[in-house]
């Protein structure tokens, strides 16, 4: 089997196909510290893409509460149970990915959820890890905790769905790295569903083919962010591209936050698919739990986030989240503002670090009215 370099695990790994990276890779940053689990992203996606028959329980985007939540039920726990506990040494994964340690000619390690696992999509909402007692008072890492994890297809560098498909009906677009299931070619074997560690491919029982998040390519092609990103009122999401064939650019906000500052981390990098949704870890949750999800750089990322108030460049990039529904490919901090542009150099967003405060004239002579705050 060919070997591919996986920067997220610091080494080469087995993967059935070799190819040059796409021209650029669509990627997302989700700040878990800002996610409010409102499911607006979920509905923005659902109402547009999966509101048909056979898609009743399909949610390409969902938000779940960790650790008790998961859609489909226990999607990640089941794979963790099938895998060796992730072991890292100086940023290098020592344990096998889902493509490794298997007998010859086996599709990636995985499991296929039952129908019932697509019920109770919001199981575990807000459930914390220990009983709260009245009168508790605490700071720092919370003694009982939960946090919200928004999830979409990761449009992986090494997609397990693509690797598993006996029909080769799953592919990765060379222009943006979006991973798609060819709806004409798919025959509904559901091997992609079994293989995807994130369970973000779904079977449609009416059309009898597999369907998955399309990365909102009809929008991306127009320079617009995905619907789930556009609708994110928590402003937790930044949607753009990672540089793939050149060094990370400090003026590309995704390169900067993910690759240069390493503030945002991949979800379950140990599975080896090279996911392209990157999470800023929740600062109130113990590292031990988070390292299972986001790898060994959790503590550093949390510390960096806590210092962001004094880090103008980083803060500027973070304040651009949700500032526009167009894709920002270049940003800069100018004085008290962060600015974002597209490839053509068109200014897409300009946001102040602090929303301005203005005092108007008490008597408005032009309109003949007194202006009060208490009316």
């Amino acid at each position: 089997m060919p070997k591919r370099k996986n920067w997220q695990i610091g080494r080469e790994q087995d993967y059935p196909y070799e190819a040059a990276p796409p021209k650029r890779q669509v990627a997302y940053i989700f700040d878990t510290n800002k996610c409010i689990e409102c499911q607006t992203c979920t509905i923005a996606c659902k109402a547009t893409w999966t509101s048909g028959k056979g898609q009743e329980t399909t949610f390409w985007n969902n938000v779940e509460t960790k650790p008790y939540g998961g859609y489909p039920t226990a999607w990640d726990l089941r794979l963790l149970e099938m895998s060796e506990p992730a072991r890292w040494a100086r940023g290098v994964l020592e344990t096998p990915t889902v493509f490794e340690g298997l007998p010859p000619n086996q599709p990636p390690r995985g499991h296929r959820p039952e129908v019932a696992d697509y019920g109770a999509p919001n199981l575990g909402e807000d459930d914390v890890t220990a009983n709260v007692e009245m009168g508790m008072a605490f700071e720092g890492i919370h003694p009982m905790w939960m946090f919200y994890l928004a999830r979409i297809c990761n449009h992986c560098d090494h997609p397990a769905c693509l690797a598993a498909c006996p029909r080769k009906a799953v592919y990765k677009r060379e222009e943006d790295g979006i991973v798609l299931v060819d709806q004409e070619r798919c025959r509904g074997y559901q091997e992609c569903i079994r293989a995807c560690p994130y369970k973000k491919v779904f079977h449609n029982v009416i059309s009898r083919v597999s369907e998955k998040c399309i990365g909102c390519y009809p929008r991306v092609e127009q320079g617009e962010v995905a619907l789930c990103v556009e609708a994110c009122i928590g402003k937790i999401r930044l949607h753009g591209f990672l540089s793939t064939r050149e060094a990370p650019r400090p003026d590309n906000p995704l390169d900067y936050i993910i690759k240069i500052r390493r503030l945002a981390l991949p979800l379950y990098p140990q599975h080896g698919t090279g996911p392209n949704v990157f999470y800023i870890p929740p600062v109130h949750v113990p590292d031990a739990f988070l390292e299972q999800l986001f790898g060994p750089e959790v503590a550093a990322a949390k510390a960096l986030y806590r210092e962001a108030a004094r880090d103008r460049q980083l803060l500027g990039a973070l304040l651009l989240f949700g500032a526009t529904n167009k894709i920002i490919t270049r940003f800069a901090v100018q004085g008290e503002e962060a600015v974002g542009w597209d490839d053509a150099g068109t200014e897409l967003a300009r946001v102040p670090f602090t929303e301005p405060h203005r005092v108007r004239n008490f008597f408005d002579e032009r309109h003949g009215a007194y202006r009060h705050n208490t009316t």
């Binding site: 607006t40 992730a86 100086r90 029909r167």
Partner: protein
């Protein structure tokens, strides 16, 4: 909307395996084929037998390239739309979002945020930044499924029994006027479709008949014969129109649509004129019910301290704070579009402290988290105040110049010492600091031309001036209401705060006086030290001390962001008074980064304070020139609906009437409500209202676009346009953001036979005019008839302080692009009390200061002249509503004996006026009176992220996310819908009760009055009203505390019948399609309304709702009852097992995935056992 019936349940996913049973061997074969390249002809031929149905295509490496991408047009086609338009989504959630609807083949297929907020401008060209975008939420984006949903109100409907009553000529009992019960079987009867004209005629004839029946002496005699309180009957003044009640729900959310209800109430003066021949001078209109206070959104202590309805600020102001106390507010679930301001402030270094009765969703965003006992907010705040004073951390200048704390109180009478008592011949000083004193008979300038507070000469005289003890000169000195802030500092006084002084009065009498500060400090030190408060709130004393010091260390940079949690307790006014005390002591009132705000409800109609132009246009002489202002005369009278909610009664203790004269309601015989499910379907004490109050109401009309429980119990349902179908513009504002919103006219054709709310009001009035042969009724709504609301809107704009200068056409044009305007208040963003804090203007109080002492008799009698902690009236483990304080010479409440009431009566009614003082330890030795009978769980009902009240909670794709029990397939046929409500209970408590996660439980509150009075004699109704829900093991609520979200549609007669008769078992009313999310009961089965004497005074001085005039006593939505709907202590019993069909555990618990049922793997996961670092 699609039904998700199990009949349509798909086969199991596993059945989709390739047919060959070869299992992993076959899978591996297919996989191998793929890897070796089925494009290679030889292999393809070999494989043909096994995979004969595969077409062979040359795809060597799908990671590198893919040949057939033409199919991608499928999703581009799905995405494409023909056109789009903008509409305003405005449920009662305080946000209001301009949303863009995308239309395909004439149908709205998807909805998106407008991203237009950053283009918003004020009249000076000032803008908002892109940090405001996007604004929307999941409920709004799902609205397409609601616009076309099967529960739309589609055509006018009349209840069969009501129509029979009308058709029979409104027969009544000759003596009492009462209507036979056979005509009043609401909720159980079929509906009759009627035309719009018939519906208008029915409503008109009902209104006229009711008004005629109860007019004059004879009408009042009938009301007395029906048993109404004589004071309430007297309050009608013999006008039958006074028993007609109108309510526009959250009317600020539709200035012309929803306020049309109150305009209609005003028009009823014409009916009175016709029935009693009163002429325009003596005619009386109808009564209009309150909103902000009815929803318990009003923080009633704000007017007690500040004289104004509410102090608050746009939530984005957290940008400017260093310390943010999110106190009793689940910000990230109820203020969702503004949640980012909080998380970004934290990102930028502000500290977020979350104070809640649970580990709330918002607690997960907290840097410091305090878990408090519910209903103990007054105690916690008083503990903070005690510590701040004891450690000398308070701001002396702020205390001296901004509060009543330095003012002297007479220790004998408990009254503030007046300058006229001390200084012979003292005359109140002329006022020059932003106060206008009008002579008797003068009304002062128009609202938009009012520069500051407007008070009458008589008020000025009655309030007088107050006195401080000047430490420097060693004697008393007069202070008037001008002298605040720098104006006080300029006097050079050094007010003595500590100790008792003896003042010689002008009469020669010598009286002992002490400052409010001194009296307050003595109470705090004796009763509310951190150790004592820790016993009450269960928050460690060290945490109280630490928080007090943090607040004091952040003057002008601490925001107190208070939610409706503590506000929904009976002690809510004390809560406000105590929190303001902490804020004032630390210079944290009225500053952009340091202020107090209360967040519940979207109430700020006062920003449209020229609204009288519309609501109170003179029906006897309407202004028919659209270019001119309207002649205004208000004939309608506001009233608190809490009395109706209280079995249509006022509060009496023995023979003493505790409802102030200015508050007295009239009997309720007719109700017309629009845009609200809160008055009927989702009311506190809902089932008691349905069973015991509504049968005395003769006519109920509801305007709705979605069939709610309120529609279930109506007599006529007027179907109105949804937000996507408005034929005319309308406008609204928000209490929490700085925008002025116009609802643009929609290009979408009406989906059903609906009309606008204002058209309904105009149609009813026109029908009354036809019945009475009086053209004035139609004239009153002439512009509506002409299809244009813009003249009405422009008149409101022109007469409002914060709106004058805006043009409706411009606003609408911008709104159609998805761009709101910015309201022209004094500051951007809005900062409540900015003028007082930054320009040293007086407050809207008697003294012009923040008032922490209440000398009025109602407060003295209640033992609340000083700020005390009262236990909750029901939600406590201890003796309810007890005043918790050590003896203090100024605490002299009336005891039960003083009212002639049995002091041992601890019943839920008697508690309302029970003023018993116990110190902390004595309180803790008591028990709730129902404790022995198993009522041991506090049950509270907050609001949550998945619903704006009940809006969108029954839209399938929203409903499925509401908590853990969603199931599109309805595996368990007992489920009322694809989801259902649940009780959050601590796992340890549940175990003790023998309740498993997912089980159904019964939840019962005080059997005296809940779920309704008389349930013991009415099994049929009890089966509908008794609360049953799933239990969720929820570790986030402490032991003894349970929670059920407020948002869901409750059971009705129809839904319960449906669950028995429908083949699929859904709790869906067969007749109407009403969908309950409870099998029986609702969260309102366990709540009720309460009346508190301090909410109903005739003496409190407050600013009116609109404009700068200061008034006294009842003001709707400012000073009136708020109800305490969060309060309940319940008994919980297991009803049925949670597994499908009532067998065993429900699946997630069985799989070891639930709190309390964790499998070894889940335990390992939580502990981080699936990763190990070697270095």
């Amino acid at each position: 909307m699609a039904e998700h019936d199990a009949g349509a349940r798909p086969e199991r996913a596993d059945a989709g395996e390739p047919a060959n049973p070869g299992g992993s061997t076959r899978r591996s074969f297919l996989y191998q084929l793929a890897l070796t390249g089925i494009g290679a002809a030889g292999i393809a031929r070999q494989a043909a037998g096994a995979v004969g149905y595969l077409d062979v295509l040359a795809i060597d490496n799908p990671l590198a390239s893919y040949p057939n991408r033409g199919w991608e047009r499928v999703y581009r086609d799905l995405y494409r739309s023909d056109s789009s338009f903008v509409f305003l989504c405005a449920p009662n959630d305080t946000h209001n979002c301009l949303l863009r609807a995308f239309v395909k083949n004439g149908v709205v297929t998807r909805i998106a945020p407008s991203y237009g907020y950053h283009e918003a401008k004020d009249l000076d060209g000032g803008g908002a930044s892109r940090r405001w975008d996007p604004r929307c939420c999941q409920k709004g984006l799902a609205l397409a499924r609601r616009f076309y949903g099967d529960r739309r109100c589609k055509r006018p409907l009349a209840r069969k029994g009501f129509k029979a009553w009308a058709d029979a000529g409104f027969p009544r009992d000759k003596r009492t006027g009462a209507v036979d019960a056979k005509f009043l079987q609401r909720g159980k009867e079929p509906w009759v479709p009627v035309s719009w004209d018939e519906a208008f005629a029915l409503a008109a004839r009902a209104a006229i008949d009711i008004a005629r029946t109860y007019s004059g002496e004879a009408g009042q005699a009938k009301l007395r014969a029906q048993g109404y309180d004589p004071l309430m009957v007297e309050a009608t003044q013999g006008a039958g129109t006074q028993v007609l009640k109108f309510r526009g729900g959250m009317p600020a959310l539709g200035l012309t649509r929803i306020f049309a209800q109150y305009r209609m109430a005003n028009a009823m003066a014409l009916v009175d004129d016709r029935l009693r021949d009163t002429g325009p001078e003596k005619a009386l209109g109808a009564r209009g019910w309150d909103n902000y206070s009815w929803h318990t959104d009003l923080p009633p202590g704000h007017p007690m301290v500040t004289g104004q309805q509410t102090v608050d600020f746009d939530l984005c102001n957290v940008e400017h704070a260093r310390l943010i106390l999110v106190w009793g507010m689940n910000w990230i679930t109820t203020k969702m579009p503004d949640a980012h301001w909080l998380t970004e402030a934290r990102l930028k270094g502000s500290k977020v402290v979350v104070i809640a009765a649970e580990y709330s969703a918002t607690s997960s965003k907290g840097d410091e988290v305090l878990i408090v006992r519910p209903g103990t907010t007054p105690a916690l705040a008083l503990g903070l105040a005690q510590q701040i004073i004891a450690e000398g951390l308070y701001d002396e200048a702020e205390v001296a110049g901004g509060t009543d704390l330095p003012l002297l109180v007479r220790t004998d009478t408990g009254q503030l010492l007046r300058a006229a008592e001390v200084f012979a011949g003292y005359r109140p000083a002329p006022l020059a600091n932003a106060t206008l004193v009008t002579a008797a008979g003068e009304s002062g300038p128009a609202i938009h031309a009012q520069a500051g507070a407007v008070i009458g000469a008589a008020q000025r005289e009655a309030w007088g001036d107050t006195v401080v003890w000047d430490r420097r000169r060693g004697g008393p000195a007069a202070v008037n209401r001008d002298q605040v802030g720098r104006h006080f500092a300029a006097l050079g006084l050094a007010p003595q705060l500590a100790g008792t002084v003896t003042v010689t009065l002008a009469s020669g009498e010598r009286v002992a006086c002490r400052s409010v500060f001194d009296a307050t400090r003595a109470l705090l030190d004796a009763s509310y030290t951190p150790e004592q408060v820790a016993k009450l709130t269960w928050v460690p004393a060290a945490a109280i001390r630490s928080l007090a010091r943090q607040i004091a260390a952040n003057p002008e940079r601490t925001l107190f962001v208070n939610g409706m949690g503590p506000n929904q307790f009976f002690n809510n006014d004390l809560k406000d008074r105590a929190i303001f005390l902490v804020a004032a002591l630390t210079r944290n009132v009225g500053r952009i980064g340091g202020n107090v705000g209360s967040y519940a409800g979207n109430y700020r109609a006062s920003f449209f304070n020229g609204l009288g132009q519309y609501v109170a246009e003179n029906p006897f002489a309407p202004g028919l020139d659209p270019a001119k202002p309207a002649p205004v005369r208000s004939y309608w009278k506001p009233e608190s609906v809490h009395y109706f909610n209280h079995n249509d009664q006022i509060l009496r203790a023995g023979e003493t009437v505790l409802t102030g004269k200015s508050h007295i309601p009239t009997p309720t015989k007719s109700i017309h409500v629009s845009n609200s499910n809160s008055l009927i379907g989702n009311a506190k004490g809902h089932y008691d209202s349905i069973v015991n109050s509504f049968p005395r109401v003769e006519f109920i009309a509801v305007n709705e676009w979605w069939w709610t429980a309120s529609c279930e119990y109506a007599d006529i349902v007027f179907p109105v346009d949804s937000w996507a179908e408005l034929r005319a513009p309308d406008m609204t504002i928000s209490a929490t953001n700085p925008f002025l919103y116009v609802f643009p006219t929609s290009p979408l054709p009406r989906i059903h036979d609906t009309r606008g709310d204002a058209e309904v009001a105009a149609g009813i009035c026109a029908a009354i005019g036809r019945e009475l042969d009086d053209p004035r009724f139609a004239d009153y709504w002439r512009f509506v008839g002409e299809g244009d609301m813009r003249p009405y809107i422009q008149r409101i704009l022109d007469h409002s302080n914060a709106m004058r200068g805006f043009r409706v056409e411009t606003l609408e044009r911008e709104a159609m692009r998805g761009v709101p305007a910015i309201i022209q208040t004094r500051t951007y963003p809005k900062v409540g009390a900015w003028e007082q804090a930054n320009e040293d203007r007086p407050w809207y109080t008697k003294t012009g200061r923040l008032e922490f002492y209440r000398e009025e008799p109602e407060f003295m009698d209640s033992g609340e002249n000083l700020i005390v902690h009262r236990e909750p009236i029901d939600s406590t483990f201890y003796e309810p509503n007890t005043i918790v304080a050590a003896p203090h010479p100024l605490l002299r409440p009336k005891r039960p004996e003083d009212y002639g009431v049995d002091p041992a009566d601890l019943g839920s009614d008697a508690r309302q006026h029970r003023h018993v003082v116990l110190d902390v330890d004595a309180l803790l030795a008591t028990r709730h009176p129902l404790h022995a009978e198993g009522y041991r769980y506090v049950f509270h009902t907050p609001k949550y992220r998945h619903g704006a009240h009940t809006t969108s909670v029954d839209t399938d794709i929203v409903a499925i996310w509401f908590g853990p029990f969603g199931d599109m397939y309805r595996e368990d046929k007992r489920m009322p819908y694809i989801n259902e409500m649940f009780l959050d209970i601590n796992p340890l408590d549940a175990r003790e009760l023998g309740v498993e996660d997912g089980d159904y439980v019964w939840i019962d509150a005080d059997p005296h009055d809940r779920p309704f009075r008389g349930w013991q004699q009415n099994a049929e109704r009890y089966q509908v009203a008794r609360l049953m829900a799933r239990a969720r093991y929820y570790p986030g609520t402490p032991r003894g505390i349970t929670r059920m979200w407020h948002n869901m549609y409750g059971a009705t007669y129809g839904s319960v019948r449906g669950s028995r008769e429908n083949a699929n078992g859904m709790a869906r009313a067969p007749e109407t399609g009403y969908q309950s999310l409870f099998r029986s009961g609702s969260h309102q089965s366990c709540t009720r309304g309460y009346l508190k004497p301090t909410w109903m005074t005739d003496s409190l001085v407050v600013k009116g709702v609109f404009g700068q005039k200061i008034t006294q006593g009842f003001v709707a939505d400012v000073h009136c009852p708020t109800g305490a709907p969060r309060e309940s202590i319940v008994r919980i019993e297991r009803a049925e097992a949670g597994g499908p069909g009532g067998q065993g555990l429900w699946r997630p618990a069985r799989l070891g995935l639930r709190p309390g049922y964790e499998s070894a793997a889940l335990m390992r996961f939580i502990a981080g056992g699936f990763a190990a670092r070697t270095s």
